[in-house]
Symmetry: C2
Subunit: 238 residues, 2 copies
Amino acid sequence: MDILNSLQEHFLFRAFTPQQMQQACKDARWVSVARNQYLFSQGDDASYFYFLKEGQVKLVLLSPGGDEKILEIINPGEIFGEAMMFIQDCHYPVAAQAMRGCRLIQIDNANFLRVLHQSNEACISLLQDMSVRLYDFVHEIYALTLSDAACRVAGYLLAQNSKRGAVFELDVPKVALASRLSVKPETFSRIIKQLSSNDLIAVNNKQITILDEPNLRTLTESCTRQEACQQHSLSLNA
Amino acid sequence: MDILNSLQEHFLFRAFTPQQMQQACKDARWVSVARNQYLFSQGDDASYFYFLKEGQVKLVLLSPGGDEKILEIINPGEIFGEAMMFIQDCHYPVAAQAMRGCRLIQIDNANFLRVLHQSNEACISLLQDMSVRLYDFVHEIYALTLSDAACRVAGYLLAQNSKRGAVFELDVPKVALASRLSVKPETFSRIIKQLSSNDLIAVNNKQITILDEPNLRTLTESCTRQEACQQHSLSLNA
């Protein structure tokens, strides 16, 4: 498969001229990783970024004691690792692990940076991309500090709803989703059951149907950390 | 005081030619706010970013129930709000409130963006700036999900140590610092006392002296959420 054509699927590369594209990708190469294999570990030199063509990758934070928190789940067509290219002598703050067999393109930061210095338009695209990530992280910190587990699960379901419609498959294993949302797996299952028994969603194996978007939204908006437990047992069991 | 000269203190503006500087700042203006006054609220149209000349500003996340989490504390010489300028029709995801009397320069996003489209060098500076913020947020999410309160406090003290030396004043009120670190104020006080009684730090009013940096560092590196309580009572009371 052609590297240049594949990368042009991503908006970051659309601003480049054919010649700039050649320069940016001159050492780019296909990489395949098997399920559970690491592309890079937390603390590795950050010399590359990646475009995911097929498969699914999780970006994980690991504590010295071995606890894992999934920061992001990367799907085909997305890039990751690109934000580190501007920090000199940078080390990845996360690890990247394949959740299933993956095909990726590995792009050298140095080549890409060189072309970025010639293309204002590409810089602006990258600034937009990084703004969105910053915005998402602010929301993540909000969810972690000011909302509770049920809110985070409801918020995730709403995000899927707006991206993929009212009926969608959970394409990420439950344990991984729980880690992504900083919820214990058993709590995640309990919340899904409660949402279902309150007719906010319907669950059929991995398929979720959003039945009552307005009330699901009210739930995420009304909950605060302090009042969370009471409010949720009320609103979920009402 | 001169707006252009003041802004040139910040690296974001250094890449601009005098003419570009004029364009970027043509509608920029001085703003003064009193202690506790809001510069903008969560959800306001994000049309400006700010350079803080004097004072201190907190960027806060507010839950619908009124709970507050301080996301960042801005000190003189720093800018804030700039990352939102690339997202169309964007609303501030945080509120900005003065912690003491402040003098700031308010810069129009539209003017700044226009000049950014002419200056590749300025784009690269901004990309660097945003990378560092992203990196910091990743560490924040790490701290919130994989480390406990004592780790976060110790981590904050170490950051001050490396920025300002082994002896420094806590220039942020305790309640605000606690919110910044997502710790209850009483827990914050307890941790500071424990660190002090274990001779890792000395406390004299608002003045902190780092006595044992290596062990403080070991503390932040060894703690995980699950083992946190036990480990800390061990290591702090040993």
